[in-house]
Symmetry: C2
Subunit: 424 residues, 2 copies
Amino acid sequence: MTELLQEQQTESELLQKAKQAKQAAATLAKLTTKQKNNALRLISAQLLEEQAYILEENSKDVEQGRQNGMSDSLVDRLQLDQSRLKDMADALVQLTKLADPVGEVLEKWERPNGLTMSKIRVPLGVVGMIYEARPNVTVDASSLCLKTGNSVVLRGSSTAIHSNKAIVAVIHRALQKSEVPVESVQLLEDTSREAASHMFKLNQYLDVLIPRGGAKLIQTVVQNSTVPVLETGAGNCHIYIDETADVKMAIEIALNAKTQRPSVCNSCESILVHKTWADKHLAELLSALQDKQVEIHGDESIQQLSPTVIPAENADWGTEYLGLEVAMKTVTGVEEAIQHINTYGTKHSEAIISSNSANVDQFFMEIDAAAVYHNASTRFTDGFEFGFGAEIGISTQKLHARGPMGLPALTSTKYIIRGSGQIK
Amino acid sequence: MTELLQEQQTESELLQKAKQAKQAAATLAKLTTKQKNNALRLISAQLLEEQAYILEENSKDVEQGRQNGMSDSLVDRLQLDQSRLKDMADALVQLTKLADPVGEVLEKWERPNGLTMSKIRVPLGVVGMIYEARPNVTVDASSLCLKTGNSVVLRGSSTAIHSNKAIVAVIHRALQKSEVPVESVQLLEDTSREAASHMFKLNQYLDVLIPRGGAKLIQTVVQNSTVPVLETGAGNCHIYIDETADVKMAIEIALNAKTQRPSVCNSCESILVHKTWADKHLAELLSALQDKQVEIHGDESIQQLSPTVIPAENADWGTEYLGLEVAMKTVTGVEEAIQHINTYGTKHSEAIISSNSANVDQFFMEIDAAAVYHNASTRFTDGFEFGFGAEIGISTQKLHARGPMGLPALTSTKYIIRGSGQIK
């Protein structure tokens, strides 16, 4: 097949499915909460009913992945089993219990000329989802979009294509029994780079793109899309231990933020310690971290305390290790800590451990991040921990939504104005 | 000078000013409302004090524009006089009276684990403004950004460079007397395309880009920026006259929306008329429009009524005339009207004139636009008419802000979490 022909076919699958999604979105936007929840329950039941089929298709992806030398951790993300499917089915039922943001009246007021105005929440329209190997994102994205009245165009990884096709077929069979149009969930079977590149520019049909995956995927989407992007970015999160920090609390929080689940974006990557606190308690903190097999990249003052500390290079301050490694540095006070965090951080989650309320206030005011903590672990930056009941991702951008995104992040607004003949 | 050298210099002015703006933003974010309002009052006074200087510099741009064959309407936008400067100075004082969104607590709640969470408004950081000839945008953008605690990097047109340099010099002299850093308002003196192109990609220093100007400028920014854009787009606005529309009201609203100020984005570009209403009242509507010198592009049923109606082509349904022209079409009902508007509209402002509440509800529900009106002119889509007291522009995108944007559109949010040692 010539390259041109291939490109035309690529475009035609995407264009056709994006158009169908857009048409379906108009119907979907009019459905009641009850109708949407009913569809979610039907999908939940269908997933369980057809679990043998889904697992069989998933095993093809897993086998192929192993043959192609996929790492164990990636195979683990790819692989489904009965318990994971059960979790996915349960999450769908949980989602029916959350408030539907669509139709919510956010503001209502009257103007002196008698116009009454209201601002109501409406669906975004069509969401484009670009993600990596995990097939649970297929269910997750489809259901969150459905609940908020949005169609979705899914572009998963080629390594999960059997799983994704099976899951979307099952979703479609469930939707056939519901009032939600089957066309509101679209999966691109063409997982080529070209298809993704066309998605980046499809402003006519896609209202937003959401990348889910590694930093490289997200940056590719951000740097190439003209469709607006909801950026769910990297987390180079810091714990700053102030002069007056409670010793036990500081060590517990640092350990938790670093080691409880080091592979996630809200885990801690750098620990900054006030010099005075360090003089008394740094040895204790270091040995607590080393007991948990954490490799420490430290500045000179940290190196002096332990022969196993690796000298920190400049690059360490900006590194998201996502593993049992941490960068450590002593600072002269909250000013220097803020300066360091605002220079090297990724505006995700930052914490101060302190008993000095003026320092806490300054940290809250001056740190530029989505979530700023006092005396708590950064690991709480999460839609469920925030009480949102669902999470689309954690936004590290400043427009539209910042921090954990619940259902309202998948909505826009519309002004409704009622008059009686007003002219200007 | 070689191209490479030129490019380096281009980048260096932009980079240097963007860095200064970012540094200033950190100081600006900490200022009180009183300190910011004081600076706005100082700028207002300085503009009046130095009006002779500003008008002299402005006259250089006007003269150069005339020499280069600039159209009268563009010269009119470019030219300043005492009265326009007085308006700008007054607007600055008005702005001090508006509520400061920064620091506003939007939500506050407690989690079962004892974490208390609040969501507060914070400045965006650094706003990049790319705009065309009108020098009043220089004052406007600077003051709205200052009020919301944002630095601004201004990139105006080369045709207004003397005016813009004079205005920014005056702003700087005012800021020197205030607590607002002078570096928070930056003007790029290099008005080349290259400088603008570098702005599009300056994600490290710019938090948002706002293009203000014609459709071409806006599309260039949208299609080339990796920095998030607040899109203030075109308005192909419709008036739909339903079967039960009050005749006098419908004609008054159509005339107002079309002719009161045809060059603006919220003016009407297409009128859709229900067949039954048309049978009785279309002739009256046509002659009212023609009395106001409106040129009509009509479908066959419209053409039959007047020999001066120009046959509408398909392109007319999507045209933003921005002048005394209108596209007209009869439709069989609200369904067809909605279908037509959602196909050809630009999601800006759409109105239904009707006495049938079911049709009005359907129109409100199904029209995909920032502002949807019943029995009122689309000309009200405007931050001042909405009661916001200020306007950054009218957003036609769905993320972050939709419709007229007041001060809160120039802010982001931050979660503040207070704990007592919580770990996960």
